[in-house]
Amino acid sequence: MSKLILNRRKLLRAGLATAATLPLAGCDAFDFLTDRSNPVREWMISINGLTYRAQRALQAADQLAPEFSQADIRQGQKPNGSTDPDTPDYLSLKEKSFADYRLEVDGLVEHPTRFSLDQLRNMPSRTQITRHDCVEGWSTIAKWQGVPLRQILDQVGVKPAARYVMFHCYDALSRSLSGIELYYESIDLIDARHPQTILAYAMNDAPLPVANGAPLRVRVERQLGYKMAKYIRRIELISEFSQVGGGKGGFWEDRGYEWYAGI
């Protein structure tokens, strides 16, 4: 029994020996965390839910993301993700300069509605110069003009059961053997009703370029770029996103990124 009792010196020596092997093991010792269903990873993600709760507690619902001046626009908006969709539906719309485009708004709404681009352009708009932060780490500043999503939601009438707004897109960022996977994203109603959340049809005083999401993309200024779906086909009000796509609420979420991208 006495053999099992280590004295402090032995304990220290054992600790040192263990510590010395750490650099040898290298950082691939933690590659098990790349497994999307690893329980340690899932536990970390659940703790990271603190970020969403803390930020929502600190933010007033209508608190604006910083806006910039005309002088801060020094370049175009760096396009990322899909930059030239080639799905047949999109190509035929693009061919006619989006004249046949109709935004569908449905799901948990009182009056499912289709909006033409002209209808959207004739609605009261908001213009904002904001900084776009990509999850990769870079930022660019641009001017965006569009219809506040809040107006659209008020017009179609959101049913009480609705909790999220889902954006279904025209672009396929991924092709697998099972077919193409169209981009999609979702935000909660707090962000959907935020004054800066707009369906943008213009960028830097010109019609929204194809590379940046023509004819319509969403701006969600208090989150990272991957939340701001481009090439929007349809907006659906939903109560939960577990039945859509991979079930995590968005294209990148299904690939391991967190649904809340306020950080």
């Binding site: 900084r131 780490g137 208090r222």
Partner: protein, 240 residues
């Protein structure tokens, strides 16, 4: 504890709260730096200003990629790097909060870290002692130790947290002045990276000093709290 002529007294150097929070920092900084370098590899360039210049040049540093053995995970995986980084960011911040409250209560802040007049007087002598590697095991930190630990705890830790928050679009809405304070979001990101490099520098010096000062005694003081003092010379005894 018995005191012999050749060995100094054995004292309780580090309180339990100091020891536990020290190791939580060591672990979380290891994961934060390695996962941070994974995130950096998604766009391995640093800029000065509000945005990243693509049509103009405000880039100050760029490389192809950090080597795989410095990143967690070792393969290119931004999503996992972010999960690990943001998790340990919470651990780091909560640990700092606990350490601060505990150190106020157990007087670690006032007794061990706060510089006093004697530290100013002894500063020159302490620099000389360190240059000669004449490292004395005393009850209290030396002026250079206070400077190094104080610099990490009260300058680098707040800087890394604040520049980290600057990168959060959600926090930008809450504290719009914060990125501006650092000269814009991209400058804040650059500072975040530089502070990380200073952590690595501190770690190297920290380990070197432990090895030079006697690794077993030093390590014991931060594991069990017990620390053997240098035997007191007559001259030193007279100064107390």
């Amino acid at each position: 504890m018995t005191t012999t002529a050749s060995e100094g007294r054995l004292i309780l150097r580090q309180k339990r709260a100091t020891r536990i929070t020290h190791w939580i920092w060591a672990i979380s900084l290891f994961f934060l730096i390695a996962s941070g370098l994974q995130i950096f590899n998604a766009h391995p360039a640093l800029y000065l200003g509000k945005e990243s210049g693509f049509a103009y040049d405000n880039e100050i540093f760029s490389i192809d990629a950090m080597p795989w053995w410095l990143t967690i995970p070792s393969t290119r995986d931004l999503a996992t790097g972010r999960v690990v980084h943001l998790f340990f960011a919470w651990v780091f911040v909560i640990n700092l909060f606990i350490w601060f409250i505990a150190s106020l209560i157990n007087r670690h802040l006032r007794k061990d870290l706060l510089p006093n007049r004697k530290d100013v007087q002894n500063f020159g002598q302490d620099v000389k002692d360190h240059l000669r590697l004449n490292l004395v095991h005393a009850v209290r930190y030396s002026p250079l130790q206070k400077l190094a630990y104080g610099g990490v705890l009260f300058v680098l830790f707040p800087l890394i947290i604040l520049t980290g928050l600057c990168m959060s679009p959600g926090m930008n809405a809450v504290l719009p002045w914060l990125p501006e304070l650092f000269g814009g979001r991209q400058t804040a990101r650059t500072i975040h990276f530089l502070v990380m490099a200073l952590f690595v520098l501190f770690f190297i010096v920290h380990i070197a000093m432990i090895i030079l000062a006697g690794p077993l005694n030093e390590l014991r003081s931060i594991v069990t709290g017990r620390y053997r003092l240098s035997p007191r010379t007559k001259k030193e005894a007279a100064h107390v």
